[in-house]
């Protein structure tokens, strides 16, 4: 669904890149989210002090809370995974939330973005598995007894494909549906502030979806670190 007025699309049209931008709205808005995140990170880490400034304070609460939560799931050995998990959370959260600003398009409402995130996550679980178990990682796919291998192996492969699809489809479906509902309500009764309750709900949806994505990727990482069942 193309929005009536997208701020950055108009900006790119003005400098003569309109052809590129109309097919790749989510890419442009992903750059916007990246720029905001980089700016916030720079502001937070510019001069770190013992008594923090507001931006540093917010980031400290957010990052330490997430880290505590994640270590509660993975255990102490999974602390090195925190940078990937936290950047997934921050990116998805800000990407969802930016859709509430008029003239902005959430990059997570495109299947390309969410599939990329899900692919990174699921491929990285196998990297973790190989790092922790070496060549014995194949036992995760083989089941307990040797004669069950022809049954267990396809089941496991289907399960891993379902991980990619469920991660990407859930986020995409929620954000796309949110955008669609907002658009329809705005066209039907925009003058009576009909989309307003849905926008309030959108804040909640943005938080929950980002959190679910973060939590499930952390759980997949934990599953790869465990011994074969």
């Amino acid at each position: 669904m193309e929005h009536p007025y997208l701020f950055f699309v108009k900006l790119f049209e003005a400098i003569g890149l309109g052809h590129f931008v109309h097919g790749n709205v989510h890419v442009v808005y992903m750059w916007v989210v990246m720029a905001i995140l980089i700016l916030l990170g720079w502001l937070a880490g510019k001069n770190t002090q013992l008594v923090p400034e507001p931006v540093q304070n917010v980031f400290e609460v957010l990052v330490s809370g997430l880290e505590e939560f994640m270590v509660g799931i993975t255990g102490e050995e999974g602390r090195w995974l925190f940078p990937l998990a936290a950047s997934i959370f921050l990116f998805v959260f800000l990407g969802n939330l930016i859709g509430l600003v008029p003239g902005f398009f959430p990059p997570t409402a495109s299947l390309n973005t969410t599939a990329a995130l899900a692919l990174v996550t699921v491929v990285f679980t196998h990297v973790i598995g190989i790092k922790y178990h070496g060549a014995k990682y194949y036992k995760h796919f083989m089941g307990p007894v040797w004669w069950m291998v022809p049954i267990i192996l396809p089941i496991e492969l289907i399960g891993h494909a379902a991980r990619i699809l469920s991660l990407s489809f859930r986020l995409f479906g929620n954000m796309m549906g949110h955008e669609l509902v907002l658009g329809i309500l705005f066209a039907l009764a925009g003058a009576f502030f009909a989309p307003l309750p849905i926008m309030a709900l959108g804040i909640f949806v943005a938080l929950v979806q980002a959190f679910v994505f973060f939590l499930l990727s952390v759980m997949y990482f934990t599953g790869a670190m465990e011994h074969a069942h």
């Binding site: 809370g65 939560f69 289907i158 494909a161 379902a162 489809f169 679910v212 939590l215 499930l216």
Partner: protein, 72 residues
């Protein structure tokens, strides 16, 4: 965040994602079967086989969740 609340949130997210993964596993199996049948010209055999495997994969997710909930 308190320990109990974080555990509740974790389980809420895990179990709410369970249904979607069951449905998707079944459909992945079905579509792999249909695709392979188109390749090898063995009309219903591989579709049925992979549909069965997909259903098994979906229910394996449920079994894993049951096992996890007993351990917690």
């Amino acid at each position: 965040m308190k320990k109990e609340t974080s555990k509740t949130i974790r389980e809420l997210a895990y179990y709410s994602s369970l249904g979607l993964s069951v449905a998707l596993s079944i459909f992945i199996g079905l579509f792999i079967g249909i695709w392979l049948d188109g390749k090898f010209d063995t009309k219903p055999v591989l579709t049925m086989l992979f549909l069965g495997l997909g259903i098994a994969a979906g229910f394996r997710n449920l079994l894993m969740a049951a096992k996890r909930s007993r351990k917690l």
